[in-house]
Amino acid sequence: MAVLSVDGIRLAFDGVVAVDGVSFEVGESELFAIIGPNGAGKTSIFNVLSGVYRPQQGSVEFNGENLLGLRPHRIASRGMSRTFQNIELFSHLTVVDNLMLGRHNHMKYGALSAFLLLGRARDEELKNRSAVEDVIDFLELEQWRRFPVGLLPYGVQKRVELGRALAMEPRLLLLDEPVAGMNVEETEDMARYILDVREELGIPMIMVEHDMGLVMDLADRVMVMDFGRPIRTGTPAEVQADPDVIRAYLGEQHRSVAS
C-alpha cells in the first residue's frame, strides 16, 4: 500500500506555473528520488507536501488521509518531516534543544505545567530526552551535543537537521538536497546515514538531489522533472536510458558515462 499518493498537482503563482500535472506514489520503506534542473519545481513539490504552499489542483493522500488545506504543523503531527535545502536549524539553540524540538508533538504538557516542570511534564521531558539521545547515538552527534548549532561546521549542521527530522519519528521523510555543498567524504557519510535510516528504521523517503551518483546508487525509483512537469518516472536504470531525460537534464555526455 502506498504511504503517499500525489495526484495531478498543479501549483501556479499568478501566471508562473511552478508544478503541473505531477502524480506519483511512494511505497513503504521506499526511497523515491526527484531530480531535475534548477527551477524544475522539485522543492515546490516538497512545499506542497508539507503544507507551506497550497496547490490549485490535485490531491495529496498521506496514509489514506487528504493533506490539502492542512496547516504545516498539522501535517507534521501526522508524521511528515523534512529537511531543507538551505539549513533551517534554530541556530541559537544547542543540538539537544534542536532535536528536542523535533519531539515537540511527542510531548503533550501545556504552558501551566511548564511553569512548574514537575510530575508529568518532567517525566515527558526525561522520556523524550532519552529518545533524543538515541538519535544522537544513531547519527554520531555525541561530541556536539551542547554546542549552539550556529557554531557547528556545515556538514554537521546538515546531520543535525536530519536528526531533528528523525527525532519526530516520521512516517515519511522528505530530504531536500541532503548532500548539497558537501565534499566527497561528507557525502559518503550522509549516504551511509540515509541507508541506515532505510535499513534500520524502515522510514520511506523522498529525496531531491543533484548528485547523480548518489541518486542512482540509493534510489529505488526516480522521477525526473523539467519546467514543472514530470518527464519520466522509473528505476534509475530506466531513467538513465531515457532519451527525453538525457536531453532535458543529464546531457549527451552522460550517455557514454552511464553505459
Partner: protein, 366 residues
Amino acid sequence: MKGRPELYTSYAQDMAFLNTRPKRAWTGGLVILALVLPFAITDDLLQLLATGFVAAIGAIGLNIVTGYAGQVSLGHAFFLAIGAYTGAALSGSETGRVIGFGITSLPIWLLASGLVAAFFGVLVAPVAVRLRGLYLAIVTLGLVFLGEHVFREWTSLTGGPGVGRPAAVPELFGVRLDQDNAVFTAAQQLYLVMFVLLVIFGVLARNLVRSRVGRAFAAVRDRDLAASVIGVDLTKYKVLAFAVSSFYAGVAGALLFVMNGFFDPGSFSLLLSVQYIAMVLIGGAGTISGAIMGALFITLLPRITRELPAVLPFISGDATGAVTVFQVEAVLYGVLIIVFLIVEPRGLFGIWVRVRNYWRTWPFSY
C-alpha cells in the same frame, strides 16, 4: 560517582534546575546576600532595590516575548499600566474621586492584575501573528499612545494627569506591608516581599523557557518556517508568548508604585517601554538572569547619575541649567543600548559568561 561530582549519570541530573555546582553556589550566595541586605543598608536604598526587583519581574516578562519568542514589543508600558490600575482599583478604597473596591489582600489583586493584563495581551496577539519585526514594533508602539490617552481621560480610575491616585494597598495575612511595625520597617518588609516574589516569578519563568513551550518560543524566533514544519503551531505560541509576557507586566505594574504609594498616568509613556527594552538588551536578551541584572542596573542608574553634578560641575542637579541630570539619564539609556548592541550583544549576561569562561580555563587562556 564519588570524586567526580561533575559527572552526570542520569538525564534528570543534566536537566535539573541548577545543574552545576557553581550555579548552586552562586545562587545560594546571592540569595543569602539578598536576605542579609535589609539589615545592613538604609531604607531609601532598600526601596530602590525593591523597585528594581519589581522591574525585574516586568523585564522577565518583556524578555519572554521579545528575547525568547522574538516578537519585538514596544507596548510593555501599556501592559504595566493595565496591571497598575487593576491592582490600585481593586485594593484601593472608594474616595468619591477615584474608584476602589477595597480588596487589599496582595495575592488576590496581584493575580487579578496579571490576569487582566494577560487578557489584553491575548487581545493584541492576533495582530502579532500577522506582523513581524519593525511592523509589530510600530503597532505595539501605538498601544502605548492609545493607553496614554485613555488613562488621561478616565479620571475616575486614574485620578487624571498631574494628580494621580494611590497605588495598590499591600496587605499580607492582615499585615500592612507599607507601614512600619514592631519588627520591620515598611522598606524592609516591602524589600523582602518583592524579593520573594521575584524569586517565585523568576523560577517559574526559567522553568517555562527551558520547557517544551520555551523551546517552541525560541523556534518561532529563530526560524518560523522550520518551526511550523516540525509541528509548532505558530499562532498558538505567539499568542501564548504575549499572554505570559503581559501577565508578568501586569504583576510588575501592580507592584511598581507600591513603594512610592502614588502614581499618575504620565508614568506610562513611551519612555517606560524604552526603559524595559533597555533592561532586556543591556541585561542580555533571551536570559532570565540577564533580565534581572538589566532591571537592577537601569533602576540603580538614576542613583548613580545623581552623583554626577558633584564630579562634573557643568551638569546641574535640578531642572535648571544647560545640561541637567535628567537629560543625561535619558541620553544614557540610548547610549547604553547602542554600546551594548555593538560591543556585547549578549548584554551583562554575556560579560558574565566571558568572565566565567576565563576563570574556568585559567591560567590557560586557550
